[in-house]
Each structure stands twice: as C-alpha cells, then as structure tokens.
C-alpha cells in the first residue's frame, strides 16, 4: 500500500504543485531533484530503501583455524570426564535399595561407557584432524573407564557384587565322609 505521503507527493507532482512534504519519498524519476539519499543510474528503476548495490566485505569465520580444531577435539576427549560429576549426583539421589529406578540408572550408567569404548574407532575418526589425537584418545578411554568404575562401585554399594563368602555358599559341595560308622545300644 502506498504511503499517503507518497501518494500525496505523486498527486502533487501531477498538479505541478510546489508544495512538498518533508517526509515524502519520491519514487518516480525527477531530474530536477537530485537530492535525497537516492542515487539512481541511468536506468529508470528506483532502488528500495537501504539497498546498495556495492558488494559488502566478507566477515565470515575461518573454517580451518587450527586452535579451534584442537579445542573441539579436546571437548570430545574430555566429554566422559565431564559426565562423571553428574553421574555421581544421580547415583546419590537414587539410593542403595534395589528397585526399578536405581537399577535403570545403574544400567544406563554402566552401558554408556561400554558402548563408547566399543565404538572407539568412530571416535578416532572424529579426532583425526588434531595432532594430539593419541593423547586425546587415551584421555577419552580413561574417562570411560572411570565411568564404568563408577557404575561398578554403585553395584558394590547396592550389594550386587559377589564379594562376600555368603555369595559362594551355594557352590560348596558337602564334604566326603572318610569313615563309615554304625552300631547302637546293645540289642
């Protein structure tokens, strides 16, 4: 919708009116007026507001910045270690009883490091651009091992690991008798 000012301006110009609005914009060509912040070519089209056809200088990020690659790789390597405090807190909240929620948490916490350790090759591919990739790989695996150690500790405090002698009681065979004995009161 054309602005009323614009229309007014257009209407006035057709009348050849000398009255000009302060904020009116002229979209039609008028060589007598070269003022305003409009610069037009010899073409007859008026550019919209704010348009400039000069190219803008490029200020995008450099993809191949070495520092940043290193940073990202270290982020990947230290990921598991950052998970440990959160896991600690989850373990503390879920308690030592044996019920469905703690078991689910323990299973999840145990399974994730193991899965990560099993897909080490995919991780190494992620890390291949950095020049400290072996160290980062080592840190990653250490972090995962610590995570699984945490899960095992949780199992131990819930009493699920067979560390006591009562857990092996069912496997003890009754001892073999060496002597045969019999008799009784004299009949």
């Amino acid at each position: 919708m054309a602005t009323p000012g614009g229309q007014g301006g257009g209407a006035l110009s057709t009348r050849g009116g000398a009255r000009r609005m302060k904020w009116a914009l002229e979209l039609t060509l008028g060589n007598a007026r070269g003022r305003g912040d409009r610069q037009s070519n010899q073409g007859d089209v008026m550019y919209p507001i704010g348009y400039s056809d000069k190219p803008v200088p490029d200020t995008s990020i450099q993809e191949s910045d070495k520092n940043l690659v290193e940073k990202r790789c270290w982020d990947v390597a230290l990921g598991p270690l950052k998970q440990i405090p959160m896991n600690l807190f989850i373990m503390y909240m879920s308690g030592n009883t044996i019920s469905i929620f703690p078991i689910m948490m323990v299973c999840m916490m145990a399974w994730r490091p193991i899965q990560a350790l099993m897909s080490m090759s995919a991780t190494f591919k992620l890390l291949e651009n950095s020049n400290q990739q072996w160290l980062q790989g080592l840190v990653y695996s250490v972090g995962n091992l610590l995570g699984s150690a945490l899960a095992i500790y949780k199992c131990q405090s819930m009493g699920l690991l067979p560390t006591h002698s009562s857990d092996w009681l069912a496997f003890i065979e009754p001892p073999v008798r060496m002597e045969i004995m019999g008799g009784g009161m004299v009949l």
């Binding site: 002698s165 009562s166 065979e173 060496m178 004995m181 008799g183």
Partner: protein, 828 residues
C-alpha cells in the same frame, strides 16, 4: 502408640495366615485306621437275636464296641495306659465293666458312661451279677479280703463284708444263683474248698461249708451241628481263644456266632454256616518299627531310567534313543487315553478301583509307597500308603513276646532286574540268639537268598554303603565275641571289605554298665576296641542314643548372617547324641545329661547337663542340631532345648570330613523354651535334597500331631533385635513356645497314644510323607514350605488356556485388519 493405631494393629494381627483344609479334601491325601489291641474279654450283645453289637476289652486298656456284621468300630474308650487302667473283667448285662479300683457302667448304645464307683483298694479277684427273681439288680465284687455288693443303677455300695480267714484261703469265685444268696468260693491250696454264702440284704453270712465236691453244673447237652469248618488263614497263626455266642433262632434251632482270636491278635468273626464275615488285624495296634519302600517302576519308566543310566555312547545314538523313548511314551499315553475313554462309557458300577499288588507301580511324583510294618506279635504287614489297604501279611512263627526287631532295607526298587530286598533281624532277649528273615517288601514273599546262620548272640548290626554286584548293601552283624558276619558274603564283598576295613567303625553301648565303646574292623573280620567312655551307673543311666539318619542330605553348608558372612555348620556324620538321666529321682537333685560323642574317636564333643530336670526325654538329632524335651521339676513345666553346633566363619576342610583329623571343637549355641503340653514322641521331617525347611512333628497326648517349624527352635534368636537379625529373619526370643492349632496336621482325626512317627522323603522336594503309629495308624503328607513346586489343586487350566487362545486369535485378526486398513489408506 495412640489408641486407634493400637486397635488397628490388633485388628490386622488377627489376619493371621491360616492353613485350613477344605471339607472335601478330608481323606484325600491322608487316612487313619483305628485299632484296639489284643483282646482279653469279649461279649456278644445278647439282648436280641439280631443284635449287632460286640463288646471287647483289650490288654491296652481299651473298651470298644464293634458292629458284628462288618467289623467296624462303633465307639471305643481309651483309658490310661499302664497298670492303673487295666481292665480286669467285662460283664455284660447291658452294662458293666470293672477295672480294679473303679467300677464303671457303660451304656451299650452310645458308649457313654452311666456311673462310676470307687472301690476300696485290694487286689481284685472276681465279680458277677447278682439276680433276684430274674432281674439283675446288683453287682458283687470279690476282692482278696472283702466282698462288696453294689447297686446296678447307680453304683452305690449296698454292703461290704470282710471274708473270714482271708490270709489262708484264696477266694476265687463269686456266684449267684438267682435266689437271695451270694456264694463265695474259696480254695485252700492242697487242702479243701470253702463256700460261704452271704445274704443279699445285709451281707450276713448265712452258711459256711467245706466241701470237696464242687457244685455241679448243668448237664451240657451236645448240640447238633456244632462242628463247623471255617477257612482259617494259614498265615495267621493258630487260634488262641474263642468267644461263642449261642442264641435261639426263630425256628427254635440253635444258632451261634463265633469270634476267633488267633495268635497274631487278629479277630475273625464267623457266622454259622462257616462263612467268615469280617477280619480285623489287631496286631497293627502294636507296631514296633516300619520302613517305606518305593514302588517298582513300570516297563516304560525303567526304559527311560536306563537311557540316563548307561554310559554315553555318542551323540547320534543318544538322539536316536531319546526319539525312540518318546515314541514309546506317546504310545503308552494314547493307550491310557483310550482306556479312560472306554471306561467312561461303561456304567460306573462295573469299574472297580481295587489296588492289587500286581498293578502297583510308582506314580509320577513317587508319593505312593509301600509301608512295611513290623508288629510286636511277629506279624509283618505291607500296607499301601495311599489308601491304607493291607496288601500282604506274613506271620513269623516262634517269635517270643519280648523279642527285639530291627528292619533294614538292603536293596530298593531302583535296580530294575533285581528284586528289592528287606531284612528283619529278630533277637530274643532271653537267649540272645538272633535270626534273619529276608523278604521282598513289595510282595511279602520270603526271598530265595539264604541268610547266614547265627550261632552266637548278636549285639548290633550295621548297614554299609558298600554294595555287591547285585546292588544289595552289605549288612554287618557283630556277635558277642566281637566278630563280624557279613550278610551277602560273596567273594566280591569280602574283597571290598578287606580293602575298606580300616575305615569301618562300630560303637556299642551297654546301658546297664554305663559303658560306650568303639571298635574298628580288621581285615579278618574281627574287631578291636579303640576307645571306651564310662559313665558311672551310680550317678546316671544311659537312656537313649541317636545318630543321624543315613539318607539325610543337608543342602547348605552354613548359615548366612546379617553382615553377609557365613557361619559354617559343624556337620559331623559320625556324631552321636547320648541322653542320660540321673539315678536320683528327687526333684532337687535330678538331672538330664546330653553328651555329643564322636563315634569314631570317642571324643566327647560337647556335654550339657540340665539340672532339676527329669525324663522321659524325647530328642531328635539331625543335621547340626539336637532338640530335646524334658520335664523341669523346679518350675514344673515341660521345656524344649535346642543345641546347634557351628564350625565358625571358616571351614577347616571343605572337601573331606575325617573324624581323625579335626583338632578344633565346634562352637555350641543353646537355647531353651517353655512348652505348654507334655509330648509323647518327636521326629523331624525329611526331604530328598534338604532344601525345604525342617519341621518337628510332635505327638501330643491329646491325639493331635503338631508340626512345629524349626525356626522357632533356633539358638540364635536374639533378645535384643538388631538390624542384622532382622536381615536373617530371626524371630525375637520369647520363652514361651506357642502351640497354634493351625499347625496340627491331623485336623480332627485324633491318633490315640502315638508311639512313633516315621517320615520319608517323596519324589517332590516340597512334600514329606508322614506315618504316625501307636494305637491307630495315620498317614498324611506334610508341606513344610508350602507346595512351592506343584501347581495348586484347583488350577484353572480351562480359563487360562481359553484366554490364551482367544488373545492369540484376536492378535492375528487385528493384525490382518490393520494391514488391510493401511493398504486402503495408501490407495485413497
């Protein structure tokens, strides 16, 4: 606690887990048979000719009434066992029974007591009814020194008179002839007879006569047709006593019925034409010992067993064998189905469900077994444990009244071609000589194997786990020269014995000398004494000894404690529990001693003395515990005490147990509880693998059998409850042991005078078969941990299978419908 909460708690504590039996379950798994014992007096009810009652008084102080048509009991009265309850005479005129000090009158119809009169003490001689003009109104009782006359209606004494010269004359009989006088007959041995007549009214002596002639009896006219030939069971011994009832029949001829008592205490009732109407085996009222033997396998079952027994001979042949046995099973099942179908079409009356020996075979869970019972009269019975019917009987001749019996099972039915074999050792107490009777427990027939001759008195016997090539266990018999005879004494057995002789030990206990001695077998089958323990007889007398049952299996080697450590049990298979009672019976000085002695080394592992305690002591020795029951004379109550033995938190040697290599003594824990009732006998339940918890079966004098859980008799029960003891499920200690009536295993089928309880494992781990014997025999199944390995009785197969099929079809149909719908939507 506030009042509503406490009310709440009380309300909820009433919802106790109760065990009850449905009314239609009565008699489904258990049966009871009632007996009376050896008859002393019998009378026929002579009210009318067609009366059906028969009255018996037995040596076990029981007075009973039988139905003479069928032999069933109408009612019976069990009096106190022992000499106070002895029945001296039974008189019949509608009422009457006399027992020494008490004169009782019973109603013949219902068995109710009419009246009871207490007589003066004095040894009883005779009694008779005194009639006065054809009506019997008085009873005269003759004692050693006095005669008394009582009213028949209420038992009051009319008069009592002393007999003259009662220290020289033995008065023996009383007679009343229907006039006003009562005659008393006395005998002076080798001299003369005395007759004294008393007047009925006041007891004055009317006349006294000395005569040599007895009064003449009525002329006995020999009646026609009195000889009768009746089939007498040859197996049953010679007839011992006859009770005859003669009556006048409607057509004025004389008829009679005879009750025959044979030497084996069986009663046979014979009607006139020589027909045996019923037989009662009263020898079963006096069972001495019994064993339960598995039934034989059927042909198909034996095949299946054979498949697992033989050595593996390759994968492919075993697969073939398995397939062939499955085919055989399928054929057998189809035949069974066909038979069921066929029998269902026949009318019900024709289908008979008799149990005969030929059709006996093991059922699926091995719950039906053959009970072999040995009775004091020398008769052996084979009884089917499911129905209680007697399948075979065998009477042993020449068994002395005070013989001692020991029954040993040498070969079970598990070894298919060889027949099962049981041996009965019968020892005569007077001469000491013993004899062996070898028989097949399933059929009762004497075995072809000849037992060895035993010229010398036998002291004890021992059953070895050593087997000969016929899979029979070897029985060793020790004679009084301490030489050993082996029962299947083949060369193979003798060779094995020679190899193993150094590890076979005996123990012999003589309670009259207070001496326990241990012997070891030498290669030439003689023994040498290796240890001796003497308990002086001036102080205490050895009452009983018990080892552990040989087929008992302990499932776990220790107890798990609250902190997850293990307290290992001291399982010594050679341990003996010896119970002694003090000779001094004064309540302040009496004691009961329990000694735990190792039978191989003679070492006293533990001794416990219970002061101010008196017997009779009943005890059970099993696994690693001993439970004993005694009477506390100071507090005047019955108490239970339990002793448990533990090795500690570490096992000394977990693979092998040798009594010769056990340096450390076990730790002993003991606790005592108060029991509200005296007990007559006690036994522990037994299962094949020992996984089920143990219950103690206690026979109470009220006729009930209580199944007491062993966890109440646990010496680790704490006085102060901690978290660890809660973990272990230990009941806090309370000195009273409750008797909960839901623990009675024989709901209303009371068993009178339980003398012994026998338990046997069945094929199911949860079930234990129990037989209580005494005056009656009661058999049932006990489930100490409930039936954890069987589906419940009224499992709803139909509902579950129909729901399963319905859901399956619903799933199929809705899957198909969903596919169709998706397809239609894709094409829209």
């Amino acid at each position: 606690m506030s009042k509503p909460t406490s009310l709440f708690v009380i309300f909820f504590s009433l919802f106790v887990m109760s065990e009850a039996v449905f009314e239609d379950q009565v008699g489904k798994f258990d049966w009871r048979q009632q007996y009376v014992g050896k008859t002393l007096f019998a009378h026929f009810d002579s009210h009318s000719q067609s009366s059906k009652k028969l009255f018996l008084a037995t040596d076990k102080n029981i007075f009973a009434s039988f139905n003479s048509r069928t032999g069933e009991l109408f009612w019976r009265h069990v009096d106190k066992a022992g000499p106070e309850g002895t029945i001296d005479i039974l008189l019949l005129h509608g009422q009457g029974d006399n027992s020494g000090r008490l004169l009782r009158s019973w109603d013949t119809n219902m068995g109710g007591l009419n009246w009871e009169a207490v007589l003066d003490t004095g040894s009883f001689q005779a009694a008779c009814f005194v009639a006065m003009q054809d009506t019997v109104k008085h009873v005269a009782v003759l004692k050693k020194a006095a005669i008394s006359l009582h009213y028949l209606t209420n038992g009051h004494q009319k008069w009592v008179e002393n007999l003259p010269d009662s220290d020289t004359v033995q008065y023996q009989a009383v007679y009343s002839g229907g006039e006003e006088e009562v005659y008393v007959l006395g005998v002076v041995p080798n001299s003369h007879l005395t007759i004294i007549a008393y007047s009925l009214e006041d007891g004055e002596i009317i006349k006294q006569a000395c005569a040599i002639n007895l009064f003449s009896a009525d002329s006995g006219r020999r009646l026609l047709d009195t000889t009768v030939i009746f089939p007498l069971d040859l197996n049953g011994g010679k007839p011992f006593k006859l009770y005859v009832h003669a009556f006048l029949k409607k057509d004025d001829s004389v008829g009679y019925r005879v009750l025959v008592q044979t030497q084996d205490h069986a009663l046979t009732f014979i009607q006139q034409p020589g027909r045996v109407v019923w037989t009662r085996e009263e020898a079963l009222a006096d069972v001495v010992t019994m064993e339960m033997v598995d039934l034989p396998l059927t042909g198909t079952q034996a095949e299946l067993e054979g498949e697992f027994g033989k050595k593996a001979d390759g994968l492919f042949p075993m697969v073939l064998k398995r397939l062939s046995s499955q085919v055989i099973l399928l054929q057998a099942w189809l035949a069974h189905l066909w038979k069921l179908f066929y029998e269902a079409r026949k009318p019900h009356g024709q289908v008979k469900n008799e149990v005969t020996i030929e059709t006996l075979s093991r059922d699926e869970f091995n719950l039906q077994k053959m009970m072999v019972m040995v009775t004091a009269s020398g008769k052996l019975f084979g009884i089917d444990s499911k129905s209680g019917s007697i399948l075979w009987k065998h009477y042993l001749e020449n068994v002395q009244p005070n013989a001692v019996f020991k029954l040993i099972v040498q070969r079970t039915t598990a070894h298919f071609p060889h027949p099962p074999q049981c041996t009965l050792l019968i020892k005569d107490k007077d001469t000491g000589l013993a004899s062996l009777h070898v028989f097949n427990p399933i059929f009762g027939r004497k075995s072809h194997i000849a037992p060895p001759a035993l010229p010398r008195p036998i002291l004890q016997s021992l059953l070895l786990p050593v087997i000969d090539q016929d899979y029979a266990k070897v029985l060793l018999l020790v004679d009084d020269q301490y030489k050993v005879t082996a029962f299947p004494s083949t060369k193979n057995v003798l060779q094995q014995l020679q190899e193993m002789a150094s590890s076979i030990f005996f123990y012999l206990i003589r309670s009259d000398q207070g001496n326990l001695s241990g012997f070891r077998l030498r290669k030439d089958l003689s023994t040498e004494r290796i240890w001796e323990v003497v308990l002086p007889t001036e102080v205490q007398k050895i009452v009983a000894v018990n080892g552990k049952r040989p087929n008992e299996h302990v499932h776990s080697q220790g107890r798990v404690m609250g902190d997850r450590s293990v307290l290992y049990k001291y399982l010594n298979p050679n341990l003996l529990a010896v119970v002694t009672e003090s000779t001094d019976a004064h309540p302040e000085r009496a004691f009961v001693g329990v000694f735990l002695v190792d039978g191989v080394t003679g070492r006293i592992i533990h001794e416990a003395v219970q002061r101010k305690a008196r017997g009779p002591v009943h005890f059970v020795h099993s696994e690693n515990w001993v439970v004993y029951e005694y009477w506390n004379t100071k507090s005047r109550r019955n108490e239970f005490s339990v002793l448990e033995l533990f090795e500690g938190t570490e096992l000394y040697n977990s693979t092998v147990f040798s009594s010769l290599d056990r340096p450390h003594l076990p730790q002993v824990l003991q606790q005592t509880y108060i029991f509200p009732s005296p007990i007559t006998t006690m036994e522990a339940t037994l299962t094949e693998k020992g996984i089920t918890s143990r219950h103690l079966l206690v026979g109470l004098p009220s006729g009930a059998i209580l199944s007491l859980p062993k966890m109440f008799l646990d010496p680790r029960r704490p006085e102060v409850v901690t978290e660890h003891s809660r973990e272990e499920n230990l009941i806090p200690y309370a000195p009273e042991m409750p008797i909960r009536t839901e623990w009675f295993i024989n709901y209303n089928q009371t068993v009178a005078r339980v003398k012994g309880i026998y338990t046997a494992p069945s094929g199911l781990e949860s079930t234990c078969l129990v037989v209580a014997y005494g005056l009656d025999i009661y058999q049932t199944r006990v489930y100490p941990s409930k039936q954890f390995d069987v589906l419940k009785d009224d499992y709803d197969y139909v509902l579950i299978s129909s729901v399963l099929f319905a859901l399956f079809f619903a799933t199929m149909i809705s899957k198909r419908l969903a596919q169709v719908k998706l397809l239609n939507r894709a094409w829209r």
